[in-house]
Subunit: 562 residues, 2 copies
């Protein structure tokens, strides 16, 4: 059996290594268009920023590893320029020699990845505008940033060329994962950074109010945020530097521009092979990673996956899923019954001292699908026992099914303990957890690491309280004309108060019930919604109509425009 | 309805607060023998060590909170001195006034906790010997440690009393959680610390080879470890300092002694009430936290729980379970159908720069129960992508069912990313995960936080490879007379080699198969068992009998005595 694997990073490399382990006899040819296989493209922004110093650190396995350890015929700088699914052949072009050869295959695995979107805007090919996908991309960016410095000392003194000074101003276009990681790393390199994003939020997979918290970190670190504005073009100024023109007519000067608008599945080869492309524009595969041609498999960022929670087809380019898909394709080629279960979209991103992570469905995705059988909660627990030094507040949003309590999604932001919580939620979603299960989860606790009631338990309790009818919920962005009751203490109100809200501190509530209306819904407010929950319980048992404003004042700042 | 709750910490306090939320009308009386309710006893060692500076930080909620927010009649320094389950009364002694009163109850909740074991050894009541259970205990230890210092400056110069110098030498008796936390905190206070433990390992819930790794941290930080030696008694030296005498005849001088031998459920009240005590010496309760008397509930460290994995009765004193049990007792008293699902024993402990955590069953527990339907693996992955700075090696042991792949237990040690992994495993065990599920888990990955194949995935893959027959396993402590093949590279062997093992570096293996025996089992060795897995796959497919030595050389140092 001869297997040709196209693409030697994540999915392709995993497939090749796994297939060799399962089948010592298979002839395996892995071709990669670029100069490197199995490199850590997730590390590229950190290499640009300097925290990963050496380029060689990014090279996880080399051509030599594949040849020596895995007996895989591994060829870099080798591109597939033709596919005949009838003859079961691929045409390979060796970029070093220019030679084109034809190889037969029994099974073909496509792992071409996704390409950075590069819209045909005026000036997009000007020097100083970069994408971040490959090791050579990162090298070019580093050279651009460093060359300025070198030239500054060597040349500037006598040429006077402004363009030769060390780049000081960066514009990053696009506020997704790569955009944000590039922003952070350029700030680390002491550039003044402007982030331009067409949408009204950064990090599009997040819900907008959680993205607000990410945006605060940007602003705190001096990043200029330009939301709701798309790029219209680029041009070179008289001094040789760049100018980024936006749809709203603004001009942003820049010494370097990073394009991080998003990625698009590479489907040219798939189209050449005549296999099915899905409605989202990715290669359509079944759960065994087989395309519409039974001898062609596809894995990684180029394929459409089933969203694990909603069951919808989706494009979710992530390294973990790509690796698992490569492994599954190898299993199936080797005659095993492995199946891909879908993608949850578990992801995490460092935002300066903060971390934002999510897993499962967002509210906006559910709304977009017309799903109304869900509720959401916000909570702001400490990352570990408050009495132990270093505890930081987490901001957590959890989505769950109203009808059966099933956990649908979670978003967690904070400066400590975020990975621990998102992975608990991710495992919970994978296993079909309900919020009632989360109430009972037994997670690790010692003062430096957690609390006797972990934030994950706490999320389960808050959600289950709601589902059991013990705590009706209201949200700040749909207050209607309700009666507002603030149960905080007066010193807290002095800092920030809600116009029109009646203040009765919680310890006085039982004695002052006659100040409250019996014919209107009472929305109860406190700082984080905990005391408001206690108050809601009192009111409900005393025959009032009451709801807790989820997340209290801490949610208000995210949900209410000032 | 009148509910009397005995014990105002963890379980009792949770029960009182929850019950009030569910029932605004109930009369709730919570009595606590000590001076404080709802305090953070898990923080006591860190208060002694100084990282939690203020004693007041440990007081999570006060008598006032319970009276004001929860309308709970909360009485401290109030001890139950009599119970009549027939009359449904308790006799309360007010320690401030000496007065004894009788209170009726409709439901009684016992949350007395567990008391430090204090064997009747000669000299155990000498001054300078402390347990660590309550805020006053911690205060006494701090005073003892500080008084020396104060006295040193004020008195020592003219009294010359050696006993008045600042304590320098501490002996901690018992190497469980509290013992280890006290060791660390006393080292932080610059004491010379000796740890005496009767067993042959610290941290008894761990398997001994994982405890070895904990012990290395102790030794690294200058702690004198005395394993396999019990305390026989204490005496005062001529200079006023203490001496700890051990069963083996050793004498350890000490200026302070911490007893952390373990805890024993407080069952005096339960016995007074005539309710059933279980075979492990704790109060026997059903899954609704009801004792053998339908009007008496018990929660927290005083009760026996079902081990979630093995189904056996067990004493597992942990704060998280105690809180959940208190909540469940309140639910049931309020007429709800809540049930406790059992305790997994998820726990975590800081060991200087390291962290050790576990969840589920240990190997020694399974062996003790005669369970043979399990396999174990060891793995040593990076805490996050190796190419990103700060990655640290994790040591992970995972136990799983041979028959169906169910995850049974996990132990994780390392200096980064331990809480994240143990909570993933804990959630997985709760939800009945198999190792096949772990292979497919979608956990968070960005270079600072994880890897595309997270250690948890990796554990699933290693275990599943074994169960699918792709990778037979061997372990260092049962080598028999097998043929040893070391597939590492020669420079690695120069550092540490295995006597009698044949070395064929992995890349040469396919070409040198004729050097290997076809009639003997070949055990394959590398550093961490990854290359050995690749080699095992080659050998199996070429018709050899081969097994991978789980964890490679990294496991050897834990399992083979030198």
């Amino acid at each position: 059996m001869k297997v040709v694997i196209v693409g030697g990073v994540a999915g392709g490399a995993s497939c090749a290594a796994r297939l060799r382990r399962l089948d010592e006899k298979a002839e395996i040819l892995m071709v990669e268009r670029g100069p490197y296989v199995s490199y850590a493209n997730c590390g590229l922004p950190y290499h640009v920023g300097g925290s990963i110093e050496k380029e060689s650190s990014l090279l996880v396995a080399t051509e030599k590893t594949f040849r020596g350890q895995f007996a895989v015929d591994c060829r870099t700088r080798c591109e597939v320029v033709g596919i005949s699914s009838e003859k079961k052949t691929v045409e390979l072009k060796n970029h070093a020699t220019g030679e084109v050869t034809t190889e037969k295959y029994d099974k073909l695995v496509l792992s071409p990845g996704a390409a950075p979107i590069r819209p045909p805007l005026p000036g997009i090919d000007l020097p100083g505008i970069f994408s971040v996908r490959t090791v050579p991309d990162a090298r070019s960016i580093r050279e651009w940033l460093d060359r300025g410095a070198a030239d500054y000392s060597e040349m500037n003194s006598y040429t006077g060329f402004q363009t030769m000074t060390k780049p000081k101003r960066a514009v990053v276009v696009g506020g997704g994962f790569i955009g944000l990681e590039m922003v952070e790393n350029l700030v680390h390199r002491c550039l003044e950074v402007t982030l331009i994003e067409k949408l009204d939020q950064v990090m599009p997979p997040l819900d907008p109010e959680m993205a607000r918290l990410v945006e605060r970190y940007m602003v705190k670190h001096g990043v200029r945020l330009e939301l709701n504005d798309g790029v219209a073009g680029f041009r070179q100024s008289v001094d040789g530097s760049l100018e980024v023109l936006t749809g709203s007519g603004k001009r942003h000067p820049a010494d370097i521009v990073i394009l991080a608008i998003g990625v698009r599945p590479e489907t040219a080869l798939a189209k050449m092979a005549g296999i099915e492309i899905g409605q989202r524009g990715g290669i359509r595969v079944d759960e065994r990673m087989r395309t519409s041609d039974p001898d062609i498999f596809a894995v990684g960022d180029a394929v459409e996956v089933r969203d694990f929670v909603t069951g919808q087809w989706a494009l979710i380019p992530l390294a973990g899923p790509a690796n698992r898909q490569g492994r599954i394709a190898a299993d199936v080629i080797a005659g095993r019954d492995s199946r891909y279960r879908g993608t949850q979209g578990t992801s995490i991103c460092q935002i300066f001292e903060g971390t934002i992570a999510q897993t499962g469905a967002s509210e906006k995705l559910l709304v977009q699908l017309g799903d109304k059988d869900f509720e959401k909660i916000y909570l702001y627990p400490n990352s570990h026992a408050g009495y132990y030094p270093g505890a930081k507040m987490l901001a957590i949003k959890v989505l769950f099914r109203k009808s059966d309590g099933r956990l649908l999604g979670a978003q967690v932001l904070g400066e400590d303990g975020v990975p621990k919580r998102i992975d608990s939620f991710a495992m919970a979603i994978q296993m079909g957890c309900t919020v009632y299960d989360l109430e009972e989860s037994e997670l690790c606790y010692a003062p430096p690491y957690g609390s006797a009631k972990d934030p994950v338990n706490f999320a389960g309790m808050v959600a289950a309280n709601n589902l059991r009818g013990d705590m009706p919920l209201a949200h700040w962005n749909s207050l209607d004309n309700a009666f507002l009751l603030d149960v905080r203490n007066p010193p807290e109100l002095a800092v920030e108060s809600v116009p029109g809200a009646l203040n009765i501190p919680l310890p006085q509530l039982r004695a002052r019930l006659d100040e409250l209306p019996r014919d209107r819904e009472i929305l109860v407010i406190c700082r984080s919604a905990q005391r408001a929950y206690y108050a809601t319980r009192i009111l409900l048992q005393k025959g009032f109509k009451a709801s807790n404003l989820s997340g209290g004042m801490l949610s208000r700042s995210m949900l209410v425009a000032k």
